[in-house]
């Protein structure tokens, strides 16, 4: 009893082939889109390389690029199959490949699902990587004269302005770090000396932030210094001031940005299309094979997903797999039978020779 059997006339077979051809070109477009998405994500991750500690997250765009390329190839093959399916002379050469094509389509679907799962699973690792990277960036902000760290100031400033964020978790991270280099401090000033003595490590800590934390949407000119002291500025209340600086931390901003890129609907759409294509392809394959087996190729044929029902197909596949496994084993009973047959054949040839002679 075949699974989900349907009858196909010649007309319907032609329609099926055309529909599948269109669907396969749509899938090629989707594959190209997935590839471009992978390239874009990779470029965006490389741009912010300096504030990330490790590159584990790069597995997502790499996988997207691979899947995109593979699906372009596989779907192009599918479109060729459709084009040839109505031509009885050209279809048989694709018959062998179709089983492989189903396997590839299934693999691609699994990989796309893996990409979606990975992008959620790696969110924690991304956050960790950003946390360490940003912490280092903020620490080395003042070291514009140290080779290997001199770019950190510009990187952090540009990052904070572009993503509208301040500090690692929030702006208070800047209070714990000395972000003004010693070479710009006036050591003769009493204020500077007091501040440096006020903490154990002898660092010049301020309750101030760099200019890149300033929010342009604030109605008043930016207040960067003495932020915790409500009396230092006129008409300023530290606890209730919201618009003066960016309130979001850069780690959160960057994580949101990358999650947004990775969670776009591309992989989902493509996997749905691939599954649909596999089903329709199977119908087309069985219908065309059935038509070719008939005496009149223009007549009706049947298409199905599985020739027998699920249980019987499973038993068949199991038997075939076991046969393959037994192929390497030597079976003594069949060897003896084989030897007997060989002897009989020799006798027959001897008889033939004697009668001929």
């Amino acid at each position: 009893m075949a699974l989900l059997k349907m009858k196909f006339s010649q007309q319907r077979r032609v329609r099926l082939a055309q529909g599948l051809w269109l669907l396969s070109w749509l899938a090629v477009m989707c594959g190209a889109f997935i590839f471009c998405l992978g390239v874009y994500l990779k470029i965006e991750l490389l741009r912010r390389d300096e504030v990330m500690e490790n590159t584990e997250i790069h597995v997502v765009p790499n996988l997207l690029m691979m899947v995109g390329l593979a699906s372009i190839g596989a779907n192009w093959v599918a479109s060729r199959v459709c084009q040839d399916s109505l031509d009885a002379s050209r279809f048989p050469r694709w018959k062998v490949l179709l089983l492989g094509w189903y396997a590839v389509a299934l693999l691609l679907c699994c990989l796309l699902l893996a990409v979606v799962v990975l992008s959620y699973a790696l969110q924690g690792r991304l956050e960790e990587s950003l946390k360490v990277g940003l912490r280092n960036g903020i620490r080395f902000y003042k070291d514009t004269d140290v080779p290997g760290r001199c770019f950190q100031k510009e990187t952090i400033d540009r990052l904070q302005m572009e993503f509208r964020c301040c500090g690692n978790n929030n702006f208070k991270d800047w209070f714990e770090v000395q972000w003004v280099s010693n070479r710009y401090l006036d050591f003769t000033s009493q204020e500077v000396k007091d501040r440096m003595r006020s903490n154990v490590d002898g660092r010049y800590l301020l309750d101030g932030v760099p200019f890149s934390c300033c929010n342009p949407a604030s109605p008043r000119p930016c207040l960067q210094n003495q932020l915790t002291d409500s009396r230092a500025h006129y008409n300023y209340e530290y606890q209730s001031e919201e618009l003066n600086l960016y309130s979001r931390g850069c780690r959160q901003a960057l994580t949101d940005y990358y999650m947004g890129l990775m969670n776009s609907t591309g992989p989902g759409v493509l996997s749905v299309i691939l599954i649909q294509m596999a089903v329709v392809m199977r119908y087309l394959q069985t219908a065309v094979e059935g038509a070719m087996a008939l005496e009149s190729p223009e007549g009706e044929s049947e298409g199905y997903i599985l020739e027998k029902d699920v249980k019987a197909t499973y038993a068949d596949v199991k038997a075939k797999a076991l046969d393959l496994l037994k192929f390497a084993q030597v079976d003594p009973a069949s060897e003896a039978a084989g030897a007997e047959e060989g002897e009989k054949a020799d006798e027959a040839t001897e008889k033939a020779a004697t009668t001929a002679a």
Binding site: D145, C150, P210, C214, P219, P221, N235
Partner: protein, 360 residues
């Protein structure tokens, strides 16, 4: 003496018609490109329209948008006409429309050229508009509580950050205006009161700049206050001063940005104009060739095509006299019966009467 006379065989005419059909379709695409360029320019200008004083420069993108749409329409019609022109019978359908169509296309091509030239000549107007607009925006920077001006602070801050510029011509423009609102000034503080009293208009002027003037390329944290007094800051040497703030004025930055954009757009429009001129010449040759074929009577014979039937001077005189005579249609100067003396008429009448009496 015809201008640019070429002889066409039947196959050459058909080939010309086919080629022109294709070129007209390409022109539809270039017309769409022209429309797109006009739209892009309009959006770019509107992005920063708050820092420009008057909207006079919007006529350039509007011109490009209308010519782009007109190009699509005219060239679509042209492709239809050229497709039919290969056959003499179908050409008769379009015969009356051809001449007005060519005249229209000629004027439209002139509009495209005007659009391209406008893109290059806009610079001085833009400079003036930007200077006045930026001056006003800087004056209203502090008015974040006044409706209609409350977004100017954000716009100017984002402008200075994006274009890496400060002030109108220089960062010192900020020293001459009060950019901190009075509601954030502590009027009980004597230092504040002294500053306000120190100038005629009672403005709180400082030698400091907003945070958006700070340069990201500086190797030290930004110095925004006491800029006239470098000694007030530790180790604030010449090099630090150069890198501390953005050196360019926003007028110059925006001017460079817009003239760059408009120059590339102008170049593209010039190329489109050359292409349209080519198509117009082809259509004119096809029209004259087909008309001559019809005049000769034999559809398979060779015919001549030209740009102008007579030389340029003669055609100009002819057209000029047509225009002159159009204006004269109500005047009667040429009537021979006006102002002729009536004495001759009186003398003739009696002699005729005498003759009649004798015969009767």
């Amino acid at each position: 003496m015809a201008v640019g006379k070429i002889t066409f065989t039947k196959t050459e005419r058909e080939k010309l018609a086919e080629v022109l059909w294709l070129l007209n379709w390409i022109s539809v695409v270039t017309g769409a490109i022209l429309f797109g360029l006009g739209l892009f320019l309009k959006i770019e200008i509107q992005k920063w329209q708050e820092v420009m004083s008057e909207q006079g420069i919007l006529y350039v993108p509007h011109m490009l948008i209308t010519t782009g749409l007109a190009a699509c329409g005219i060239n679509y019609l042209g492709s239809k006409i050229c497709l039919d022109c290969a056959d003499t019978n179908k050409f008769l359908r379009w015969k009356l429309v051809m001449m007005p169509y060519i005249v229209c296309t000629f004027f439209f091509t002139a509009c495209v050229l005007a659009g391209a030239l406008m893109c290059y000549s806009i610079r001085s107007q833009l400079e003036e508009a930007l200077y006045l607009g930026l001056r006003n925006t800087m004056r209203f920077y502090k008015d974040t509580d006044t409706p209609g001006r409350c977004y100017l602070k954000k716009t100017l801050d984002l402008l200075q950050i994006q274009f890496q510029c400060c002030g109108n011509t220089d960062y010192r423009d900020w020293f001459q205006i009060q950019w901190i609102s009075s509601r954030y000034l502590d009027m009980t503080n004597s230092a504040v009161v002294d500053r306000v009293r120190s100038n005629v208009e009672g403005k709180y002027l400082m030698d400091s700049v907003p945070f958006s003037c700070c340069s990201t390329l500086s190797s030290r944290p930004c110095i925004q206050h006491n800029l006239s007094n470098p000694g007030a800051h530790a180790h604030y040497d010449e090099q630090s001063q150069q890198l501390n703030l953005w050196r360019r004025g926003c007028q110059q930055a925006l001017l460079d940005h817009y003239t760059g954009t408009m120059q590339s757009i102008g170049l593209t429009v010039l190329l489109i104009w050359l292409f349209e001129l080519l198509v117009l010449t082809g259509v004119r040759y096809l029209q004259t060739a087909m008309e001559n074929v019809i005049r000769l009577g034999d559809p398979d014979s060779e015919s001549e095509g030209w740009i102008l039937e007579n030389s340029l001077a003669e055609t100009a005189c002819y057209n000029f006299s047509i225009i002159k005579s159009l204006g004269k249609c109500y005047q009667v100067d040429d009537d021979p019966n006006i102002n002729v003396p009536t004495a001759a008429a009186d003398q003739e009448a009696p002699s005729a009467q005498v003759q009649v009496n004798v015969t009767s």
